[in-house]
């Protein structure tokens, strides 16, 4: 039997490329760009959801990883543009404009940052965890603002989008395809993760860490691994986002960014695999549609969000799929 949520997930999943293709047909490249933005921000949300939904780790500092991913792209590409190596001693590191390489660097860098931040932050729990992750995010934000080498608050512009072998990434639909495939792959991975032994233990540690300890599993390690995976995925999304805009700036590190990623997740439905996709899509759509309505469109956006929280328990997906069915 296929559950209703699964059906909705597939429909949502198909909607994104369908939108992009229709936009292509109607010659509305900007709509494709919007779809790409949805895919990328959803990816960031999927990353956060690993920590937040599965592990119950409410991180208000995921902009740190998003920003690190973004700056990985910005720094590598700017060095490639200026032909100035990134580092000469002890090993020569050159810039690059190859997306796969940039992704790898973004993933590694943000995973490393997540390891460090997570190792420290996970000593705390609950609201304290929210705040300490926020603190680390803010440290990076202020650092990025006042660090002159890569533009400070002005950020870094990369005039041409980085390349992907065999594709013309400047063509909106091709870049969309890249982002979408990455999202699909990560969704597949995250879906398996939730059902795997690791996922079971992690989610149990969210509900009752004492219980997990008593069966001989260490919650701290489970959480740390989840946090690193989560940070890495969000970092990858950051690199893609920077490529979408061909621009990075410290706003990628801001707490509002962390908040926005979290909003996607909550809006779509915490812990639901496709929640971030639904959340990001709805948010971007609202932003786009309402933005034209009035100078004071935030009032309407706020009102709509409020309605969703009050009346759609379990987010958009929860609303559509009905009461959660425990699956085993």
């Amino acid at each position: 039997m296929i559950q209703r949520e699964t059906l909705i997930n597939w429909a949502l999943f198909a909607l994104l490329p369908a939108t992009a293709l229709i936009a292509l047909w109607m010659d509305e490249p900007f709509i494709i760009t919007l779809a790409t933005k949805v895919a990328i921000l959803a990816l960031a949300g999927v990353g956060l959801n690993i920590a937040l939904g599965l592990g119950g780790l409410v991180s208000l500092g995921h902009a740190a990883f998003f920003g690190i991913g973004g700056y990985a792209m910005g720094i590598l590409a700017s060095h490639a543009q200026s032909y100035a190596p990134l580092m000469q001693t002890p090993v020569l590191i050159e810039g690059t404009t190859s997306m796969p390489v940039i992704w790898l660097v973004a993933i590694l860098a943000s995973a490393l940052a997540a390891l460090a931040i997570g190792a420290l932050s996970l000593r705390t729990t609950g609201v304290y965890f929210i705040m300490i992750t926020l603190a680390f995010g803010q440290m990076l934000y202020y650092f990025a603002i006042s660090w002159p080498a890569y533009g400070g608050e002005d950020g870094l512009s990369i005039y041409v989008r980085n390349g992907f072998p065999g594709l013309n990434t400047l063509d909106p639909i091709q870049f969309f395809a890249v982002a979408f495939v990455v999202l699909a792959a990560v969704l597949f991975f995250a879906g398996r993760l939730a059902r795997a032994p690791f996922g079971l233990a992690l989610a149990a540690a969210r509900q009752n860490p004492e219980r997990v300890e008593t069966v001989g599993l260490a919650p701290y390690r489970l959480r740390l691994v989840a946090f690193v995976l989560s940070g890495a995925v969000t970092g990858l999304a950051g690199a893609l986002f920077a490529d979408l805009n061909r621009f990075v700036s410290p706003t990628m590190f801001s707490w509002q960014m962390s908040g926005e990623i979290m909003i996607f997740v909550i809006l779509g439905g915490v812990g639901r695999l496709f929640g971030p996709v639904a959340g990001a899509a709805l948010f971007i759509l609202l932003e786009h549609v309402l933005g034209g309505l009035s100078d004071y469109w935030h009032v309407y956006l706020g009102g709509l969000l409020l309605l969703v929280v009050l009346f759609a328990r379990g987010g958009m997906i929860g609303l559509a799929a009905g009461r959660e069915v425990a699956h085993d």
């Binding site: 760009t33 002005d154 950020g155 512009s157 805009n245 700036s249 706003t251």
Partner: protein
């Protein structure tokens, strides 16, 4: 349609700093309305002061709206995110407010025109004024971000004395007790600050009740029409530098101030004047060339053949203004706080980066 120009205006209309964007927009639209030119079409979008949003809106303007000219951005960091890519795609960009140094110097572009000022200019004018007035050791402060660093550099470029102290405050800081104590202890003979928006309001109010009695100089941003009412008495007597003032006595300005008040029921601000000039520059070029002929249109823009509300206006080699900078004093006219021109600080001033620009 034939000879028409489609303008994409990306500016800040919601959230913090929306007042500036709204004024630029209103000034621009006023000029368009007064010209009655039905070949000018304007699309306006709100960037929420977020660079990423600005970039995406620029994509939208270029890809979907197919605009010919972009304008509207208030903030340097947003301009740096949008302008290089826009001109690379063959679009004109007319800046009504931000003038980052990169775009004035090495990064200048034939399609980029700045109708306001290069970022350093008002600070340079303030430095020059401070020296002219005989200040020897001004205490200078600005927030710690690129525009703040440029501000202090710009001030020092024309200031002949030795700063008594130089402080970078936090971006968004609202309490200045510590800085005020440092100023008091520094033995300075005057104070220069660049603290845009609410930071400036906070600083001035706290300055006023701190018991420090030194003369204050600053760029126009913290003393502009929109913000002065919020500062109140604390601003009275402060000298600030600007390329425009409500009381500049030229025909274009008199007409502008009256029309703006009639249309919107408030006094125009610096930003409104810049938006107004931007539209008039564009209209003047439209009368001379077709925007599809980029070279001709560019030449028409470069002539700057319009009646600026600032009086004399021309472009330098890097297509940034060569203009006079005035010193204004904050006064009270009846119930409203406003500015009065008291001196001219720099005449026909060319920005510091023009020499680095070559196309």
């Amino acid at each position: 349609h034939e000879g028409g120009v489609k303008v994409g205006m990306i500016t800040t209309l919601s959230g913090g700093g929306a007042g500036l964007g709204i004024d630029v927009r209103d000034g621009f639209m006023l000029a368009a309305k007064m010209a009655g030119n039905d070949k000018l079409e304007v699309v306006i979008e709100d960037d929420q002061r977020k660079p990423e949003i600005a970039v995406q809106l620029a994509d939208k303007m270029i890809q979907s709206e197919k605009v010919d000219v972009l304008t509207g951005i208030i903030w340097s960091n947003l301009a740096m995110a949008v302008v290089p890519a826009a001109v690379a795609q063959g679009k004109f960009y007319l800046s009504p407010n931000a003038g980052p140094s990169q775009l004035a110097g090495k990064g200048c572009n034939p399609l980029y025109f700045n109708v306001a000022w290069q970022n350093d200019a008002l600070h340079e004018a303030a430095g020059a004024y401070a020296s002219d007035t005989g200040y020897q050791n001004t205490f200078i402060l600005a927030p710690n971000y690129p525009a703040g660093q440029d501000a202090l550099t710009g001030f020092k470029r024309f200031f002949k004395g030795e700063p008594a102290g130089e402080i970078y405050t936090q971006l968004g800081q609202t309490d200045y007790a510590a800085e005020l104590a440092q100023i008091r202890a520094s033995g300075a003979d005057s104070v220069f600050f660049f603290l845009p928006g609410g930071m400036g309001i906070s600083f001035l109010k706290q300055y006023a009740s701190s018991g420090i009695d030194l003369p204050v100089v600053g760029p126009a941003f913290s003393f502009d029409q929109g913000i002065l009412q919020a500062v109140g008495e604390a601003a009275l007597g402060v000298k600030n530098t600007s390329q425009w003032s409500k009381d500049l006595d030229n025909a274009a300005n008199v007409e502008f101030v009256a029309a703006f008040e009639a249309e919107y029921g408030r006094l125009p601000s610096l930003y409104a004047s810049q938006g107004y000039d931007t539209a008039n520059l564009l209209l003047s070029a439209m009368g001379k060339a077709d925007v599809k002929d980029a070279d001709a249109f560019r030449a028409a823009l470069a002539e700057a053949d319009f009646a600026s509300v600032r009086g004399d206006f021309k472009f330098g080699t890097n297509q940034h203004p060569v203009q006079d900078y005035y010193v204004r004093e904050v006064i009270k006219e009846g119930d409203v706080f406003t500015n009065k021109v008291i001196a001219t600080s720099l005449t026909d001033h060319v920005d510091a980066y023009a020499a680095e620009c070559s196309y």
